[in-house]
């Protein structure tokens, strides 16, 4: 087990995953770059960027950790009528519906304090809330697909599902924000 803790041992396992997730995250970065002008015109939207990415990733990682545990305990089946699946899906949507309006109001307040709230508070709250709702649905779809794939390939869901889901949800966070901003703001 000593080699497990060597710099080269850790790097061999960690670095390929880091490079893969970096490439994935660049898809999100390029999406941000494509509406950079809008984001810079409205700093409250720029404030929303890290928190939307983070919360989307967190929703995905909470759900995948819970599905993973349910799966290890043998109480999960991939059936639309499965109680565990249904309960966790509803939880994810409820969490998004609670957290994202707060996040929107917070982003507006932060932008106001730092001197750049050019959008009315209701617009920022609407952008955050609609993005959050769409993201919750996507997070469920991504997580269930990833967990099911891991299960089919007999991989341990803890190793694969959580990092994949977290980073895919990060990227979806940016893409959904982009779509919602285009519809509501511009």
């Amino acid at each position: 087990m000593a080699s497990d803790w060597s710099v080269s041992g850790i790097t061999r396992r960690l670095f390929p995953i880091l490079v893969a997730l970096t490439l994935l995250e660049l898809v999100g970065g390029l999406t941000l770059g494509s509406f950079e002008a809008t984001l810079r015109r409205y700093p409250s939207l720029l404030v929303l960027v890290p928190v939307t990415i983070g919360t989307a990733g967190n929703l995905g990682s909470v759900l995948s950790a819970r599905l993973s545990t349910a799966f290890h305990l043998g109480i999960l089946s991939f059936d639309v009528t499965d109680d565990e699946l249904l309960g966790n899906t509803i939880t994810t949507v409820l969490l998004a519906v609670t957290v994202f309006p707060v996040v929107g109001a917070g982003a507006w307040a932060v932008a106001r304090v730092t001197g750049g709230a050019r959008l009315p508070v209701e617009t920022v709250v609407a952008v955050a809330s609609i993005s959050g709702l769409v993201l919750a649905v996507l997070a469920v779809a991504v997580t269930v697909t990833a967990a099911y794939t891991a299960y089919r390939f007999e991989a341990d869901p803890d190793d694969v599902v959580i990092p994949v889901v977290t980073n895919v949800c990060d990227v979806l966070g940016v893409i959904v924000l982009f779509g919602v901003v285009r519809v509501i703001v511009t």
């Binding site: 803790w5 060597s6 710099v7 850790i10 790097t11 960690l14 670095f15 995953i17 880091l18 490079v19 997730l21 970096t22 995250e25 660049l26 999100g28 970065g29 390029l30 950079e36 984001l39 810079r40 700093p43 409250s44 720029l46 404030v47 929303l48 960027v49 890290p50 928190v51 939307t52 990415i53 983070g54 919360t55 990733g57 967190n58 929703l59 990682s61 909470v62 819970r66 109680d83 565990e84 249904l86 309960g87 966790n88 939880t91 409820l94 969490l95 609670t98 957290v99 707060v102 996040v103 917070g106 982003a107 932008a111 730092t114 750049g116 990092p163 980073n167 990060d170 990227v171 940016v174």
Partner: protein, 189 residues
């Protein structure tokens, strides 16, 4: 568990963590929102942001859960001593963080150049990635060691502390480090 119990338990368990890390994300957003001049001066910087923050999350999340598991197994002692294992885990986290940040900067430059979009010189982006990665790395190592060891000594399960600590501190210090690194890179240009 009934559907209702699953919902109540899941909601109560996750809400505090989500709110705390949202607060971290908002503070990070406040820094990003104030970086108008830097984003203008370093085209391509915004493209690096998601990858830069995600690398912090993965590298230091992995360090945190490694330390946490090692405490449970009795492999490391819950106080900072220049123990070989601890030093090599920290060195590996810092090196991997720097390496991946450099990869992010290089790919950003290459892709934006290929797309014919405006982009800062490679060395500017690379300098920002390295300085930002090093600054954030040193702070996050300190935060993780303090939280994981401190939490363990107080009888808490460090497994539950690592996730929220890394997402919250990673966003705030990652963004702050990127800001300082960008100012520094602009100053030497």
């Amino acid at each position: 568990m009934s559907v209702r119990e699953t919902i109540v338990e899941g909601y109560r368990g996750a809400l505090p963590t989500l709110l705390v890390s949202a607060l971290g994300g908002l503070l990070a957003g406040g820094i990003l929102g104030g970086m108008e001049a830097e984003l203008e001066a370093v085209p391509g910087l915004l493209v690096v942001v998601p990858a830069f923050l995600a690398i912090r999350g993965s590298v230091y999340g992995s360090l945190g859960s490694r330390l946490s598991s090692a405490l449970h197994q009795g492999l490391v002692e819950p106080h900072f001593t220049p123990d070989d294992r601890l030093v090599s885990a920290i060195a590996a986290a810092l090196l991997n963080g720097l390496g991946a940040s450099l990869v992010a900067a290089t790919f950003t430059f290459a892709i934006l150049t290929a797309l014919g979009r405006r982009v800062a010189p490679l060395w500017t982006l690379a300098l920002i990635a390295l300085v930002g990665g090093a600054l954030a790395g040193v702070i996050l190592v300190a935060v993780i060691v303090v939280v994981v060891f401190g939490g363990y000594r107080r009888g808490m399960n460090p497994d539950n502390l690592v996730g929220p600590t890394v997402t919250t501190a990673g966003d705030i210090f990652g963004m702050a480090a990127l800001f300082v690194a960008t100012r520094l890179a602009l100053a030497v240009t």
